[in-house]
């Protein structure tokens, strides 16, 4: 069972990393990040259920909350880029404009 959980979490993590590396759209990269965080959460929950460790469960709950906050801030930054009418590809975002 453990190898299966590691296989799924490793694969999900790799897909998330591929999204970040291969895609050029900011939103696609943010979705890849969410996938990577979910993969880590699966591994944590599996091991905390194997060893009945409540502390890990609490840390997963905090990770979910922090990841939600990160998604909100990231999405509002992306909305600002759209609002400024600038290109949405990562190559064109070279410098910070006031």
């Amino acid at each position: 069972m453990t190898w299966a959980v590691w296989a799924v979490t490793g694969f999900l993590f790799a897909c998330g990393a591929a999204m970040i590396v291969l895609r050029r759209q900011l939103l696609a990269m943010l979705m890849g990040l969410e996938l990577m965080i979910s993969a880590v959460n699966i591994a944590l929950v599996y091991y905390c259920s194997r060893y009945a460790d409540g502390e890990t469960l609490a840390s997963v709950l905090l990770i979910i909350a922090i990841a939600a906050a990160e998604a909100v801030v990231g999405l509002s930054l992306i909305l600002k880029v759209y609002e400024a009418g600038r290109e949405v590809e990562t190559e064109s975002l070279q410098e910070l404009k006031g």
């Binding site: 069972m1 299966a4 959980v5 296989a7 799924v8 694969f11 999900l12 897909c15 998330g16 591929a18 999204m19 291969l22 759209q25 939103l27 696609a28 943010l30 979705m31 890849g32 969410e34 996938l35 979910s38 959460n41 699966i42 929950v45 599996y46 905390c48 259920s49 194997r50 060893y51 009945a52 409540g54 502390e55 469960l57 609490a58 840390s59 997963v60 709950l61 905090l62 979910i64 909350a65 922090i66 990841a67 939600a68 906050a69 990160e70 998604a71 909100v72 801030v73 999405l75 509002s76 992306i78 909305l79 600002k80 759209y82 949405v88």
Partner: protein, 160 residues
């Protein structure tokens, strides 16, 4: 039975994660991510953490994905290809709906019976004692972080 559902959730999550990487349309990628997040919550449930499964669905599959879709809708037209043009095969769309329904039935059927040997509902009370005991400072910090993140989005709305 729950191990079979765990295996199904793992396979479906891996399949749609791979599909997500190659989707040109952001809509299609968002739908694939939603299905993966739902499978993660199924995994949490059958690993003996129903509270986390509930939070995963509520926060991730709910709130974050709604924001992602709103951001896609706000994107310039060349970024947000409409879903229809991605020509997702019909059987795949039906499978994407049928699998969560089957898993929901399995969850309802086995609710409370944790699958993995060490897991159990006894873990739930320990979350609260940990969050408001040794992790109290981290809990307060995350609460403030969520408030500030909400302000980031509220500021966005106030400007429009």
């Amino acid at each position: 039975m729950s191990l079979a559902v765990l295996a199904l959730a793992g396979c479906v999550a891996a399949f749609f994660a791979a599909l997500m990487v190659f989707q040109r349309s952001l809509y299609a990628a968002a739908i694939c991510l939603l299905i993966v997040l739902l499978q993660v919550s199924v995994f949490f449930f059958f690993s003996g953490a129903p509270l986390l499964a509930f939070l995963q669905v509520m926060i991730y599959a709910g709130a974050v994905m709604v924001l992602v879709v709103i951001t896609i809708m706000a994107a310039p037209s060349q970024v947000s290809d409409p879903w229809s043009r991605t020509a997702v095969p019909r059987w795949l769309a039906v499978a994407a709906v049928a699998v969560p329904v089957a898993e929901a039935v399995a969850m309802a059927w086995s609710s409370g019976a944790a699958s993995l040997p060490a897991a159990g509902i006894s873990l739930q009370p320990s979350i609260a004692s940990v969050l408001f005991g040794p992790y109290a400072a981290a809990t307060e910090a995350v609460t403030l972080l969520l408030l500030l993140a909400g302000l980031a989005m509220a500021d966005e709305g106030a400007r429009r």
